[in-house]
Subunit: 220 residues, 2 copies
Amino acid sequence: MGEDNYSLSSRVFRTIRENILSGKYEPEEELKEKTIGEELGVSRTPVREALRQLELEGLVTIIPNKGAYVVGISQKDIRDIYEIRSRLEGLCAKWAAENITKEQLDELEENIYLSDFHVEKGNSEQVLELDNRFHEILYNSSGSREMRHILVDFHHYLQRVRKVTLAENKRAVNSVSEHRKIVEALKLHDAELAEKLANEHIMNTIHNIDSHGWDHVFGE
Amino acid sequence: MGEDNYSLSSRVFRTIRENILSGKYEPEEELKEKTIGEELGVSRTPVREALRQLELEGLVTIIPNKGAYVVGISQKDIRDIYEIRSRLEGLCAKWAAENITKEQLDELEENIYLSDFHVEKGNSEQVLELDNRFHEILYNSSGSREMRHILVDFHHYLQRVRKVTLAENKRAVNSVSEHRKIVEALKLHDAELAEKLANEHIMNTIHNIDSHGWDHVFGE
DNA sequence: GCACGTATAATTGTATACAATTATACTGTT
DNA sequence: AACAGTATAATTGTATACAATTATACGTGC
């Protein structure tokens, strides 16, 4: 999220991840170190490191002495991840209600103010950015390094789906209004309510995809 | 868990992780590629790959061009992880109640039968092994690749703490009886009950550590 | 024509070599 | 003696070289 690490090695890592999430590398496709290295203009060494990291993230399967293969992500996988994430975001909001600072609350309110503006204008790029930031603030205000770590991982993982869902203007409007309610609960330090709202907020994303169909998410 | 991957590279990875979790490498300690390579009798290449993987797991922080440092794990971190895990194990048990097969139920019952035996005998090594297996079966019977993935990660992360808690015989007895109740709920396919019981089961571990003090977990 | 075995090529796994960066020690100046 | 600047060493980052393994192609026997 915040960590600006523009070394060559991490650039390779993120590029490959992006290519998997965007669908440039197809599911089950074999990722050859030499080929990717040539594509990105680097040697096999940083590519190998990246592939092994991506394996831990679950985006790639490595069969020793054979190769690295893109792990396909199914509709069910996305559903599962969202349901898992909804529980975690709920717990995160609960903790945030207990630990959030005045400054963090202020930034959340500013975030919502700006989101209203950009949703109105239909700037989906900025809306996505603000949504990212909203949840990032929540992760930080939970006061838990572990919670932050796991949710940031998920966030990366779902980046692809989120682009689609927030582009739908109707969902964007609802999403911001849900954010507003969460912030209200945080201001009252009402942990149970914050948990419930954050939980529902994530599940609404899935319901939204269900009602609009999954075609946008997968095929074009 | 199940994945037998005894390549040199993954051996290095697990050895370093073990050394961090066991405390051989102290918090904030700088891990030098050359030194570790010599310790393990390998070159820098596999060590580098391992360190970058460990960074993703959150056990190591890498500052580009400077070095890799062991991330200390605090009492609060462990608490947080257990609370996060309790929610996830709850959701996992809920899903398991909906998807578990006859064969998996049979293996769970056999697992409990054997656990009773080894708890009686005081074989903490076997008890730990059976406990690992019990939860592994649950992860598989959830029918969710994503759920399995995330819980296996946590499981590794907490291996160190779990050795201590299950060595306490009293906790071991309670733990097995909680397992039994979870299996009963699964047999009835009572998702809500299974979730509640699994959730409480994990939280009880933390309560147990609290009541016995944290000294065993950290210092000797 | 097909199965099998072997030779060849391609790919991964590991070690080493070199480049770039950072840390350390030394020297001279004030 | 304290400090700055520079040279040296140590360490990380990347590329390449070699070893081990796996995939492929080819030829031989049937």
